[in-house]
């Protein structure tokens, strides 16, 4: 008895029986090879189901859908602000990662008070020496401004169209948390260049923390690394900006959009 499989599912034999072109043979051979190892067929089936469930058709505008005359409230960009803030967030993430190659979160190098520090110098380096660096920083900053603006306007749109009402309360509260984190993102990024305004903005942050009873000093230690600003503050703001917040905010955005996906867009009017 031969050790060779006499399986009726002998795909190679089936392949040979067919009259196929080279391209078709190559495609099928690759597909079979991958499917034997990864069970691609299961995932293709899932994708196919999703495709048919998606009920593809050209999008209708809100006005078309509801046969409305007054176009003012259905002005599209107002309904795209959430997406716009996500896209701005992605642009900021990519440009921020590129900026991170050159940035040094360090207050070293200042001989006297008011001298440029290593962090400040690395920004000067980015803006003056790095190819495209000036534009890169500009894109990063403007995408952050766009994101914050879009997030605020998104909240106003949701408020004035009553989209936060039952059953969407949880997402509204999640949105408030996300706005707070976005502002924290902006604040921590504002501190990183370690210029005069960065320093004194952080100073106000420390003073706010210290004015809070009970938890204030602990919060100042945690966020600013002490009661006076220095190296510890800069590193903490840096880690907050490039490590903690990206994970938390990305996760919460995914949850926020996921809930919208599950509940459907609030019925537009």
């Amino acid at each position: 008895m031969s050790l060779k499989k006499q399986d009726e599912m002998d795909h190679n034999a089936w392949l040979k029986k067919q009259d196929l072109t080279v391209i078709e043979t190559a495609f099928l051979t690759t597909l079979i090879w991958l499917d034997k190892r990864l069970r691609i067929v299961d995932y293709l089936e899932l994708l196919e189901t999703m495709y048919y469930r998606a009920n593809l058709q050209m999008p209708k505008s809100h006005t078309e859908q509801y046969d409305l005359d007054n176009k003012f409230w259905y002005w599209y960009p107002l309904y795209s602000l959430g997406s716009l803030s996500i896209v701005a967030y992605l642009v900021a993430a990519v440009s921020g990662a590129l900026l991170g190659f050159y940035y040094a979160p360090s207050t070293a190098g200042a001989a006297a008070q008011g001298d440029p520090t290593a962090a400040y110098d690395s920004l000067v380096f980015i803006m003056k020496d790095v190819q495209f660096g000036y534009m890169l920083r500009s894109i990063h900053r403007w995408s952050a401004q766009f994101m914050v603006a879009a997030v605020f306007l998104h909240m106003l749109r949701v408020y004035f169209t009553g989209s936060y009402k039952e059953p969407r309360e949880v997402n509204w509260i999640l949105g408030i948390v996300l706005i707070g984190l976005t502002l924290l993102f902006g604040f921590s990024g504002y501190v990183l260049p370690w210029k005069q305004l960065s320093f004194w903005a952080a100073q106000i942050g420390v003073e706010m923390a210290l004015a809070t009873p009970l938890v204030g000093e602990w919060a100042a230690q945690l966020l600013f690394g002490g009661f006076t600003l220095g190296q510890a503050t800069l590193v903490r703001m840096y880690i907050l900006h490039v490590f903690v917040l990206p994970f938390v905010v990305t996760g919460l955005i995914a949850l926020h959009v996921g809930i919208v996906w599950v509940q459907g867009i609030a019925e537009p009017h």
Binding site: A54, N55, P59, H62, Q65, Y66, W73, Y76, P77, G82, S83, A88, G114, D115, P116, T117, Y120, Y134, M135, S138, H140, R141, W142, S143, Q145, V148, A149, L156, Y159, G162, S163, Y164, K165, R168, E169, I173, I176, L183, G186, Y190, P193, W194, K195, Q196, L197, W200, A201, I204, E207, M208, L210, A211, P213, L229, V260, G264, I265, A266, E267, H269
Partner: protein, 262 residues
């Protein structure tokens, strides 16, 4: 040699120690997913309560569906995919173009290096935190809030932090205060007025934060900070109330047909 059923020193048998898993311990009866009530019977405590609720909720759904006199509701919610997603992608890519254009035309500002020894004349955060900075400058209000023979209850800085808590807390409470099926501002003039008040307050607080730029006295500015939003709110309420009459016909005809009030 040893039989599978021979008791071993610990009292067990080889049959129990089989490493191939043996026959599956639990076979789902006739290959079907158990219903909520079956699961309820097989569980206890919190799990049983959960299944009990699921059973009720399923029955409620079915009852409501059976009782419903609405043959077909046109739209329950707008599908996220593909309708919203495709349109949003088109619009947002346009905005990203604008963003990059602006980034090229108006590069980011860069200032002096940090100097802990000299406080700049004007300290300002980015524009989006002006309102927050304005909340920190409410200290002239603090003596007004004093009780207990004029002693200030909390420090000026803490007042600002409490103000933040009030703002965020109120916004978070909105969905629990404002209920019902009304969606348009004309349908709910009061809540639209509250919204306009909030928006104007954000702007006046921003103005309070950059008070150095206004050639008016601080008292007047502080009064305006709180009076303008209220005025704006009253104005919005009046306008929407007036507009409402004209809208009622359309609202009734088109809107409530889709979403009947409970």
């Amino acid at each position: 040699m040893t039989n599978d059923d021979t008791p071993m020193t610990d009292g067990g048998t080889d049959a129990e120690a089989r490493t191939d898993g043996g026959p599956p311990a639990t076979v789902p009866p006739d290959d079907e997913t158990p219903t909520w009530s079956e699961r309820k019977e097989h569980s206890r405590g919190l799990a049983q309560l959960t299944y009990q609720y699921f059973e009720r909720s399923r029955r409620e759904d079915e009852d409501l569906r059976a009782e419903s006199t609405y043959v077909e509701r046109d739209v329950l919610g707008f599908p996220t995919w593909p309708h919203e997603t495709l349109r949003n992608l088109a619009i947002t890519s346009f905005f990203v173009g604008i963003m990059i254009l602006i980034a090229a035309l108006m590069p980011a500002h860069f200032g002096e290096p940090a100097n802990p020894g000299s406080t700049p004349a004007i300290i300002l955060p980015d524009w989006y935190l002006y309102w927050s900075f304005g909340l920190l400058k409410l200290n002239p209000l603090n003596p007004e809030l004093a009780v207990l023979g004029g002693n200030i209850v909390m420090s000026n800085e803490f007042l600002g932090i409490v103000a933040h808590g009030i703002v965020f807390g109120f916004i978070g409470l909105v969905p629990f205060l404002n209920k019902g099926s009304a969606r348009r501002p004309v349908e709910q003039p009061f809540w639209a007025a509250v919204g306009v008040t909030g928006v104007i307050l954000a702007f006046t607080l921003a103005a309070l934060a950059i008070q150095n730029f206004f050639p008016i006295s601080l008292d007047l500015l502080l009064t305006l900070t709180f009076m303008l939003p209220v005025l704006g709110g009253i104005l919005t309420y009046a306008v929407l109330k007036t507009m409402r009459e004209g809208y009622m016909y359309d609202l009734n005809r088109r809107y409530y047909m889709l979403r009947p009030p409970k």
